[in-house]
């Protein structure tokens, strides 16, 4: 790490970091500590008694048949993996096409980049509207042209497909931007050398370009999993509200519902702590990767 500190001052640096530190402590550290603490207590939601119950909030999550926690865990993983796979495949394909030496690439890049600005909830509302069984155009086509009685409010598979489509659509632009940046850093000379060697375009792609894209792909893999796991709350809240039943109640939705709607503070806190551990794991993974990239 390069050193820069040159300026001598005793109190000034503390004043400079103070605003950031105050907010970090009040809104990050204090609540997180509270979450950890509360996860060991059983609390009356109306501010009455609190009883220390040890790990039983955690145990209840995994053993109580009403808690559906393991189901929620599984569905979150499947959901995150589906989004990651669908969105990354389509984006990579489009990025490779837009990277070719053709006309209008600037136009194509702009058209495929701007949806980054679309809010996750807006993506959800747009897809909900197309697939709404009463007013949706696509729902109508599915029903009247293909004979599929489409109703994501009653059918779990329909709900899951709709959520996955909406979330993957939302991630397309993000992945596209990073794949585009990755492709631009592939040295032209290397590709030309492969052409001279007579490698077919498919071999050129898989053996050279895809290999050089590996850091980008890995980074996006982590970021898409994080998105699928933690940032899809608006889509679930907006489209299915966890339904039908609790079938699409992913972890972040469940932690919100158990805390805010059902007022189960202990259970919600225990879920928060588990989520924290997951985020820490994913962050460490991401930073390991960045470190490795720097030493390259």
């Amino acid at each position: 790490m390069a050193k820069q500190y040159e300026i001598k001052a005793k109190w000034l640096p503390y004043f400079l970091v103070l605003p950031q530190m105050i907010i970090v402590f009040i809104f990050f550290f204090w609540p997180s500590a509270q979450a950890i603490l509360q996860s060991f207590y059983l609390q009356d939601p109306f501010g009455g008694k609190t009883i220390f119950v040890g790990l039983s909030n955690y145990i209840a999550l995994f053993t109580n048949p009403d808690s559906d926690y393991l189901y929620s865990f599984t569905i979150s993983i499947v959901f995150a993996l589906s989004i990651t796979f669908l969105s990354m495949t389509v984006s990579l394909f489009l990025a490779v096409q837009a990277h070719k030496k053709i006309k209008f690439t600037t136009f194509y890049k702009t058209m495929l980049t701007w949806p980054y600005a679309v809010a996750t909830l807006v993506a959800g509302v747009i897809w909900l509207f197309m697939f709404n069984p009463n007013v949706g155009v696509i729902a109508w086509i599915l029903k009247h042209r293909f004979g599929i009685p489409w109703d994501y409010l009653l059918n779990f598979q329909h709900a899951f497909i709709l959520l996955t489509l909406a979330a993957s659509w939302k991630q397309l632009a993000y992945n596209f931007v990073f794949f585009m940046a990755g492709l631009q850093s592939v040295p032209e000379t290397l590709v030309e050398a492969a052409i001279i060697d007579g490698a077919s375009s498919i071999r050129r792609f898989w053996q050279i370009i895809f290999g050089l894209l590996a850091p980008t792909t890995f980074y996006l893999l982590v970021m898409n999993l994080v998105f699928g796991f933690f940032e899809t709350f608006p889509i679930v809240h907006g489209i299915t509200a966890g339904g039908p039943g609790k079938s699409t109640s992913i972890l972040v939705y469940k932690v919100w519902r158990d805390g805010v709607v059902n007022l189960d503070l202990g259970g919600s806190s225990a879920q928060s702590v588990i989520l924290m551990i997951l985020v820490i794991g994913l962050t460490v993974l991401q930073f390991r990767f960045i470190e490795r990239r720097i030493t390259y």
Partner: protein, 281 residues
């Protein structure tokens, strides 16, 4: 140079147009819906042309709202705008200050501060919903702009970005300004901040979109309609029985929610790409 035959070039264009269609068609549907009457939308299948009620619907959305949510959308636009600007400007200001302290001064708690900020990366709102809500409510910040903005302005990525940039500032510049007798804050205000225009612009684009698109946080802490942001408003307009949803107004509002961040991205595309590939790594 790679050469393509005509057919292969055509196929490439074709694929890219399919990609664009996947993105544009859903948006066209909502645009079309926002130009029809409620009855037309409910009469399945909905017409897909641009109807004659475009102006009436947007006017009603902006100044009246829906029947089940009587808040005019312009109030929500104002709230979203205040929140997005507050978050992006707040983040930039406090991150510039913190990075300045961490890079240019040597003080005993330097490392501690740096790591405290770093750890916030691992504590997104989603994992500490209830206790953070409680803090906000204890501080009396429910249904306030400061409650919407303050907890969102801590940013490890912004501090890292500025730190990275400050480390490349030549030492001679720091020394020269000290020899000239300027105080540390004069150096910061007159030299360092103007030098950081590029990362500031990049960060502004990313953070404006981030702020505008916040959902879970305003959902938690706003209960009064005059503090609803656009996204919360859209969700509230859609609650209730299907027949009572005024889809044309909801869709007009959705489009209004979509336009500002898209304009920011399109107008500042260069800064946006730089911001994305540099801040998020």
């Amino acid at each position: 140079m790679r050469e393509f035959s005509k057919i292969r070039r055509f196929i490439t264009h074709f694929y890219l147009w399919i990609g664009i269609a996947i993105i544009v068609f859903p948006i066209y549907f909502i645009f079309s819906a926002s130009s029809h009457t409620s009855a037309e939308i409910l009469s399945a299948p909905m017409p897909l042309n641009i109807g004659p009620h475009l102006l009436t619907n947007y006017k009603r959305a902006l100044f009246e709202g829906t029947k089940n949510l009587g808040t005019p959308v312009f109030i929500m636009i104002k709230n979203s705008f205040i929140m997005a600007m507050g978050i992006s400007i707040g983040k930039i200001v406090i991150s510039l200050l913190a990075a300045f302290a961490i890079v240019f001064f040597d003080f005993p708690l330097r490392k501690f501060c740096f790591w405290s900020i770093f750890v916030t990366l691992m504590l997104p709102v989603e994992v500490r919903i209830m206790p953070t809500y409680k803090v906000i409510s204890d501080l009396g910040m429910l249904n306030t702009y400061s409650g919407l903005i303050m907890p969102m302005i801590v940013s490890a990525t912004a501090v890292f970005l500025f730190r990275q940039f400050f480390l490349t500032v030549p030492r001679e510049i720091v020394e020269a300004s000290q020899i000239d007798g300027s105080s540390p804050m004069q150096f910061f205000g007159r030299i360092l901040v103007p030098m950081s225009r590029t990362p500031i612009a990049a960060l502004f684009v990313i953070q404006f979109i981030y702020g505008w698109n916040q959902y879970l946080w305003p959902l938690l802490i706003t209960t009064k309609q005059e503090y609803f942001t656009l996204l919360i408003g859209i969700n509230r307009m859609m609650t209730g029985a299907d027949v009572h949803i005024e889809w044309q107004i909801v869709m007009a509002t959705t489009l209004l929610a979509l336009i500002p961040p898209v304009i920011v991205v399109v107008l500042m595309q260069k800064q946006f790409i730089a911001g994305m590939t540099e801040t998020e790594k």
